[in-house]
């Protein structure tokens, strides 16, 4: 038995972890006991934890073929490996979340999204097919258009074990992003700026949810892949060098998360960046993965860990819903260091999290007070027709998840296909999926 947790380090559970190195290993594991597959442990909560059997897929990390941007790889390959291997020849993931340390299988299971969702959709957009091992040990190649594909992409590993997939990468001329930062002073201004910049390939905003004088201040970061002509003459377009990682060896003291201190940090951050607003050239790693540079940044929150809250709100109720959420967070004085706001485009797949509208993501130290606040945020989100991101969830009650009618349909499908008693996670049990 091993004590494991998700990236948020909450909850922690003793799980029997076994490792798969081949298809045969996976088949044996499925025959032995109910399980959930686990990639690189980047889901924040308990989505990839099963006390009886958690199947570590990170050793199944072989790349099987690559031609003209089309990659076939095993589920344990990390996006970081893919970038390291193919960026030097001008290829980059079509869709990437905020960490490059996510596994391919995990990215598919959570149908992750990135800063380009409003134009390109979620990870599903770049997936051609997925090989899934079912409860009987048989492998099905699920392609776009198949029911199994629809349920698997975003299905949190609950339709079977994702073995390998074919994905398409994006050709890029350089490894740089032209970033345009705008400093804004209210939620209304920020939303208006998002709507005006829908043609920007990448967009994301950092927004202040604290109760200080900077409440609602935001920095909107727009980005596009730089072409060779954007670069200074002496800059090699694709010279991928590794930046040094700064490990975060131990937890920060809890006083760091008191409201007053956070207000200070957020204010300083905004003022500093507002002064430097405008266009600049940023390398891929700093632009897409600023937090990856701090290895183990999840330890900032100390031993008790942290919980993420991420909801999506439909376009028509976004302005009102976001204002209410932000007011509630400010009043609680337990606001998070990172509050990320993002415009979503059309929903990509039937079981995908994103819906056209806005998504707000924040993290909180794992505490009673945070959990109470989050349950108030749940109520506000549901009142505005929103939904929640399972890859971030560690604590939702079943009723909240089931407010999304697709959850019940998913559970019924699982039952009917004989999946419910073979593929389970602490999350699927908690949410009745």
């Amino acid at each position: 038995m091993t004590r494991i947790s998700g990236w948020g380090r909450f909850p922690v559970a003793e799980c029997k972890v076994t490792s798969a190195r081949s298809e045969a290993d996976v088949a044996r594991a499925i025959a032995k006991a109910p399980l959930i597959a686990r990639g690189n442990g980047r889901a924040y909560g308990d989505a990839a934890m099963n006390t009886g059997q958690t199947l570590d897929m990170t050793a199944m990390d072989r790349m099987l073929s690559f031609e003209d941007g089309v990659l076939v790889a095993e589920a344990g390959v990390l996006l970081a490996d893919i970038i390291h291997t193919f960026l030097p020849s001008g290829w980059f993931p079509m869709v990437t979340p905020g960490t490059k340390y996510v596994s391919l299988g995990g990215a598919i299971a959570a149908d992750v999204h990135g800063k380009n969702h409003h134009l390109d959709g979620s990870f599903r957009a770049c997936v051609d097919w997925v090989d899934v091992m079912g409860p009987d040990g048989n492998v099905t190649r699920a392609a776009k258009g198949d029911d199994l594909f629809d349920w698997t992409v975003g299905g949190m590993g609950l339709t079977g074990v994702i073995l390998r997939a074919q994905i398409r990468l994006r050709p890029v001329e350089t490894m740089y992003i032209v970033q345009d930062t705008r400093a804004l002073t209210s939620l209304e201004e920020t939303l208006a700026a998002f709507e005006e910049t829908l043609d920007a390939p990448y967009s994301v905003a950092w927004i202040d949810c604290s109760d200080g004088p900077h409440h609602g201040h935001s920095l909107l970061h727009l980005g596009r892949h730089a072409t060779v002509s954007d670069l200074p003459e002496d800059t090699a377009p694709l010279d991928v060098t590794h930046k040094r990682k700064l490990p975060v060896p131990f937890g920060a003291p809890p006083f760091l998360f008191r409201g007053l201190w956070l207000r200070g940090i957020n204010g300083i951050y905004w003022r500093r960046n507002a002064k430097r607003a405008g266009e600049k050239l940023v390398d891929w790693d700093s632009y897409f993965y600023p937090l990856d540079a701090l290895l183990n940044w999840n330890r900032f929150y100390g031993r008790k860990g942290f919980v993420q809250f991420q909801c999506a709100l439909p376009q028509e109720s976004s302005a009102e819903g976001l204002a209410e959420l932000m007011t509630e967070i400010a009043a609680s004085q337990t606001g998070s260091v990172l509050s990320v706001l993002k415009r979503f485009g059309p929903q990509s797949g039937p079981f995908s999290f994103p819906m056209p509208g806005y998504t707000l993501a924040l993290d909180f130290p794992a505490s009673e007070r945070s959990l109470e606040l989050m349950s108030r945020l749940d109520t506000i989100t549901l009142a505005h027709g929103g939904r929640f991101y399972l890859a971030k969830d560690a604590r939702m009650p079943e009723a909240v998840a089931k407010a999304d009618p697709r959850a019940e349909a998913f559970a019924a499908m699982r039952k009917q296909a004989g999946l419910s008693d073979r593929f389970t996670s602490l999350q699927s049990e908690r949410l009745g999926l």
């Binding site: 038995m1 029997k16 050793a59 073929s65």
Partner: protein, 244 residues
């Protein structure tokens, strides 16, 4: 340095990591194991990631009398040969059945020593080459929990040491690798202390560096050098009562 690298016992998790390290450094790779068909995906991986030239060679570490022909028939005599052959066996079974113990000794000592002996002679004749033997810290002192495996590794470690001594003036270098805990199939279901447990990729990098810098004996992770120095120096009257 860019000559071909032969990896014996190529199906293990550690061998896969070692192959990647050398492939990334620009070497052609020869993967040798029983049932080479199951190495097709590993070969594809090296080709896809690094554009490596990969060949697959059928090799049975336990069939000692096939080893000479195996070495004679290599497509090219490699610049570096790495022996990752080994099997932990089941200690209780090794205790109950001397035949099972003999199998463990054959897989971890006789087989590896035999194939390396043939490779050593070929490299000595050429006057150049590097041999790498992956042994184990378990060979540093016999313990109740795995002494059959440990004794075979002890034999292999001594063999490598002697081989290094013999070939030192013949242009052939020998590296002894002593891994502690490595996160591979061998450790499945065993919870080992984090600071003492290496990822396979770390071992791959360490072996590449050891070959390039002509190191003699390396421990992975290096902390194991200290741990094993302590364990070796516990007086026997005390040691026999411990359960390490």
């Amino acid at each position: 340095m860019s000559g071909p690298v032969l990896i014996l016992g190529a199906a293990s998790g550690m061998a896969r990591a070692v192959a990647r390290s050398f492939a990334e450094a620009g070497h052609a790779i020869q993967l040798a194991a029983r049932n080479v068909a199951r190495l097709e995906d590993d070969a594809a991986d090296l080709r896809t990631r690094f554009g490596t030239e990969v060949s697959l060679l059928e090799f049975d570490a336990l069939a000692l009398d096939s080893h000479k022909a195996f070495v004679d028939n290599l497509p090219t005599l490699p610049e570096v040969a790495i022996c990752a052959v080994g099997a932990m066996g089941e200690q209780p079974q090794s205790e109950a059945d001397p035949q099972a113990a003999a199998q463990v000794i054959r897989a971890n000592f006789e087989g590896p020593a035999s194939v390396l002996a043939h490779l050593a002679n070929a490299m000595e004749a050429r006057g150049a080459g590097t041999l790498v033997g992956i042994s184990s810290v378990a060979g540093d002192r016999g313990r109740a929990s795995n002494y059959v495996y440990g004794s075979a590794k002890a034999g292999f470690t001594a063999f490598l040491s002697g081989l290094r001594n013999r070939l030192a003036k013949k242009g052939v270098h020998v590296v002894t690798v002593l891994p502690g805990f490595v996160k591979t199939a061998m450790l499945d279901g065993i919870d080992t202390p984090g600071p003492l447990t290496a990822e396979p990729a770390e071992v791959g990098t360490a072996i590449l560096k050891a070959v390039e810098k002509k190191k003699n004996v390396i421990y992975t992770r290096p902390i194991w050098r200290v741990v094993m120095a302590v364990i070796r120096n516990i007086p026997e009257p005390v040691f026999k009562k411990t359960s390490l």
